[in-house]
Amino acid sequence: MGGQAKVFSERESVIVADDVTMIFNIASERFNSLKEYFIAFMRHELRFKEFRALKNISFEVKRGEAFGLVGTNGSGKSTMLKIIAGVLDASLGTCTVKGTIAPLIELGAGFDPELTARENIYLNGALLGYRKEFIDEHFNDIVDFAELWDFMDMPLKNYSSGMVARIAFAIATITEPDILIVDETLSVGDFLFQQKCERRINELIESDNVTVLLVSHSIDLVERMCDRAAWIEKGDLKMLGPCAEVCEAYKHYQK
């Protein structure tokens, strides 16, 4: 790690990606039926083509840091994010994460469209690992932040995607997680709410306890909020350093 971000260099690392490589086996992923699999097996076509979505990625993120992940579509950002979130295991190398992770959950994942917003808050909270008593206590805060008091007993399917994003963000940030993962889910909110979210994220960053991981291919938000950034391009870690420098280079790459 270079000498960047002096303020953070002495803090503990909450995310350590050490030589992470992710290999997808393209051929074997096509099989969705026994017949196809069997035919390929007989023809010795299994494990046909390897695709390296991430190649030897190493970086550390310190406690209290706002860290951006940038890169064009299909560059490997989401794969990296899945490995950090612990839902995907790296093929080679390790990724160590300390503490609680709060992702923003979109409609269809931790929300059920048939349930009311009230019921969904509990369901979602449970899936994030919150205690029931904690949700009871902070239920009002969550609804206040989402500004959706009038719609609490309406099934979520009648909500717009922006309203769902409000709830998702409110639940994820009602307390201070060790790591908050902010991705494109947020971009469906209206500008007022996005501003509100930015303020809240800034509060969390300033508390120095929360590490914010911002993943986006839109560069502006990353530029405004992050201390450091990593640029992943076609699976390679192209650049790692202070946010301004990385974003500058990324912008030129786009042109």
Partner: protein
Amino acid sequence: MEPERTADKPEAIARATISGKDAWYPENQRDGFILRQLVTKDFKLKYRRSALGVAWSVLNPLLMMIIMAAVFSRLMGRADDSIPNFPLYIIIGNTAFNLMSDSTSRGLMSIIEASSLLKKVKINRWVFPVQKVLFAVVNYAFSLIAVVLVMIFVQYAPSVYALYVIPGLFMLSVFCIGLSLFLSCAAVFFRDVIHLWSVFLTAWTYLTPMFYSIKILPEWLQTLESFNPMYLYLTYLRDALLFRVNPSLELTLGCAGFAVASLVIGYLVFRRHESKFILYI
């Protein structure tokens, strides 16, 4: 250095508590609340916007029982004189078999249905198939109320032997959990399993003495039935509720054996492959 640190620490801890570090369950205690929320969700969705609501949980099996009892008692009722009450014989078997078929066909889809969640949040994946079995057990408990109502109605009230339902239901549930773990995993890799399983269930339904007495089967098939786990569970529950006898040691061992075998195999297969789920869902 030393005093500074000790002075720092309590403050840090205090701030941490305010900031809500107690907001989370420790990683290994989350599953209980998640399971409860998911079962509640399924239950609410099942009866949302129906006028009678939860009453259907009892009413539905009750009505089904009346129909089946009416049809099959006529068709097969005289085949076996040792069965004291043929409608009850059918009802007890049918409700228990439904527990198995409901839980496994829901469990089968559980991982695929939770895909968008599993791609984002780290949750113990076994929660999803297990939750579907628990939901089916809750439903079974309601149909058991219906069974008891029928028993009282036909003046064949449950005796003390009915307590055997508890271990019987437990073993059956464990058996279903194992099956669901295995099936949910298999369905992720081969979607054919979804179609195959419904066919398999139909065959299993007719091969299990549910609407008929085992005595009408040819001898070789009767011998084979002792290797049919569902027949063993049905017999166990019928011993408890209908025949009012102690389930034989042989039968109990059979039921327990199938439960343990199913759970061990299901768990091992699931554990071995669960990290690859995300690549296929």
